[in-house]
């Protein structure tokens, strides 16, 4: 009886690993495929016959660094993304604190309005934003990219942080108040550390959206001074050389890699649980 139960538990574990393994493979194969395309000669990629033993080549690697200012694009992407996430957090944390903790007329309407900005198609505001940024002299600058990414992501960053704040027991704030802390002190010393997983989650999602943003970047960045990785990809699709698949694949992989590494490094924080032990349980 007991051995049967043990066997069944072992089988169930094996099945779980099999399903998870299959899912991991399903998710990773496209990425590895991209990498393999990026590390093959261009002629081998467009050949109609299947190649079972591909040739390893760093042609694309050399090309993207030597023929194109990829380092500049990467730097532009990193600066614009980090800047936009910082702007988002500076604005979203107080907004979320207000929306989750204070009672005032129209609070829920304001919360819904913030979220509703995410509901419209970005193309609707593309032209007004172009003119706005032109009038401010911000076209073709990293600052403009920071602002636009921050504006695009602000609504959901606010909502994610708000939802984490709602989970913080009110008793923690009451305790801090009776201990003598003011609102800002409570936010800084009690709330923010307690919702750190939420802040990290929101930041990572904002980074992913920002790195993939294409429309506004193309609109605002007109020279390599402000090109980012996503727009750089488009550079490989035109011109006299045709579509340079291996370079596109390698740049796409390089764009994917930093976010992937960040997620792997902070996955512990992406799960909730920091407030465990704060209250009964």
């Amino acid at each position: 009886m007991a051995s049967a139960r043990k066997r069944s538990r072992g089988e169930s574990l094996a099945l779980r690993y099999a399903i998870l393994g299959a899912w991991a493979l399903f998710c990773l194969v496209p990425v590895l495929w991209f990498l393999s395309i990026g590390l093959r000669p261009r002629t081998e990629i467009i050949t109609p016959q299947p190649i079972y033993f591909p040739t390893f080549s760093l042609d694309a690697w050399h090309m993207i660094w030597e023929d194109w200012p990829m380092g500049k694009y990467l730097r532009n992407s990193v600066l614009a993304i980090i800047g936009s996430v910082i702007i988002d957090l500076v604005l979203a944390i107080p907004a979320a604190y207000s929306l989750s903790r204070f009672e005032y007329k129209g609070r829920d309407d304001i919360g819904f309005y913030i979220l509703s900005t995410r509901m419209m198609a970005p193309a609707i505001v593309a032209v007004p934003i172009f003119f706005l940024f032109r009038n401010f002299g911000l076209l073709d600058t990293i600052w403009a990219l920071m602002l636009i990414y921050a504006a695009i992501n602000l609504s959901f960053v606010t909502w994610i942080i708000r939802s984490y704040m709602l989970d913080i027991p009110k008793e923690l704030e009451d305790a801090a108040k009776t201990d003598g802390a003011g609102e800002l002190r409570i936010l800084w010393e009690i709330i923010i550390p307690a919702i750190l997983p939420g802040i990290i989650t929101a930041s990572v999602i904002a980074m992913i959206f920002a790195i993939n943003e294409f429309l506004f970047t193309l609109l605002i960045a007109s020279t390599p001074d402000a090109y980012t990785m996503s727009v750089a990809l488009a550079n490989f699709t035109g011109g006299s050389d045709g579509v340079i698949y291996n370079a596109i694949a390698l740049v796409a992989f390089l764009a994917f890699l930093p976010v992937f590494l960040v997620v792997v490094l902070i996955q512990k924080h992406l799960s909730r649980g920091l407030t465990m032990g704060a209250v009964k349980g």
Binding site: P169, E171, L172, D174, A175, A176, K177, T178, D179, G180, A181, G182, R185, E189, I190, P193, A194, L196, L274, T275, M276, G277, A278, V279, K280
Partner: protein, 349 residues
């Protein structure tokens, strides 16, 4: 270290009343317990004292100063919460230190004060741990240490023991009382547990539906209840309340006849008698009923009798046994019979 006065305190949210007409004068160094069922307004009253809720009407006065417009952080009260409310990102040491930092206590005094407070609650060995690494009892003691680390004007404790098991609760109860007596700090304690109230309080404030039902020492509350709510709320099992009629000093109800009561209360009357003031008698007593249940507990036997459609609890001798549905008779201690107006529930004296 503070006298706290609540003058005509009301709290309502729109049409919903939280607290009505609360008047209370808490003396310096007194230990007052708010007792009542869930939703009776006891926690709301405490939160108003702390400054975490604003009264709709009335005044909260501490040492002669009206506190209504003073922020919670400036009231210098220390509060212990039901859910402990320890800051999860800080160690126990930092948790206890937090109020010292907020109140601007000189840094060089912090360590000695923290260790003294932790010592009082036997938590010195756990100072470098995070709250999540402590048991429920240790967390509650840490919360207590955070409250006592500075000498506040008053302690406010909101059901601090309700998440602990019975044995730990009893231990913590003794510890809280000891610390309060030692530090001589005015304490307001909220609970729905009558044992906590009876054992801890200098005075108990019994609340129901937002209003004070009775204020008194534990003895007064137990022995001299003001109404049927108090009579029924205090005591385990609670007081037997038997609705009947009184004529010429004789109370009658199905299976019950008691003579020699004050003749001035003729009409619909409810007679109250505690289970420990009833004694099983061989001859006809004040109440005759059929045995509904017999529950030996070791040191006594709970006997439940059915008289009419009413169940009457009796604390009988530990050796008492009886067959179900057999007849039994019970006499009441005449000095311990309480009379209440059936309509209003108020005590008839």
């Amino acid at each position: 270290m503070a006298r706290i006065q609540l003058n005509n305190i009301q709290k309502r949210w729109g049409a919903i009343w939280g607290v009505r007409d609360v008047n209370l004068d808490i003396a310096d160094e007194e230990f007052v317990v708010f007792l009542g069922p869930s939703g009776c307004g006891k926690t709301t009253t405490m939160r108003m004292i702390a400054g975490l809720e604003e009264p709709s009407e009335g005044e909260i006065v501490m040492d002669g100063e009206v506190m209504n417009d003073i922020d919670a952080r400036d009231r210098d009260v220390a509060m212990v919460f039901q859910g402990y409310a320890l800051y999860p990102n800080m160690t126990i040491y930092e948790n206890i230190r937090f109020p010292l930092r907020m109140r601007g206590v000189p840094k060089e005094q912090h360590d000695a004060l923290i260790r003294r407070a932790a010592g009082l609650v036997e938590l010195v060995d756990y100072l470098d741990r995070k709250p999540s690494a402590l048991s429920g009892g240790q967390r509650q003691r840490a919360a207590l240490a955070r409250a006592i680390v500075r000498q506040p004007h008053a302690f406010l404790m909101d059901e601090p023991l309700s998440n602990l098991d019975a044995k730990l609760r009893q231990h913590m109860r003794v510890q809280i009382k000891h610390i309060q007596r030692e530090l001589k700090i005015t304490t307001v304690y909220v609970t729905h547990d009558q044992i906590e109230a009876m054992t801890l309080a200098d005075r108990i404030v019994i609340m129901d539906k937002g209003a004070i039902q009775q204020i008194g020492t534990p003895d007064e509350i137990y022995n001299d209840p003001a109404n049927t709510f108090v009579a029924n709320f205090i005591g385990a099992p609670p007081m037997n309340l038997i609705a009947g009629r009184m004529e010429q000093g004789i109370f009658t109800a199905p299976g019950v006849r008691v003579e020699g009561l004050p003749a001035k209360h003729d009409g619909k009357v409810t007679l109250g008698v505690r289970p420990e003031d009833c004694a099983v008698t061989a001859e006809a007593g004040h109440l005759t009923g059929s045995v509904y249940g017999v529950e030996p507990t070791g040191d006594m036997t709970y006997l439940t009798l059915k008289a009419g459609d009413k169940l009457i609890e009796v604390k009988a001798h530990r050796d008492y046994r009886a067959d179900l549905n057999s007849d039994a008779s019970v006499g009441f201690d005449p000095k311990r019979i309480y009379l209440f107006d059936t309509a209003s529930g108020q005590r008839l004296r």
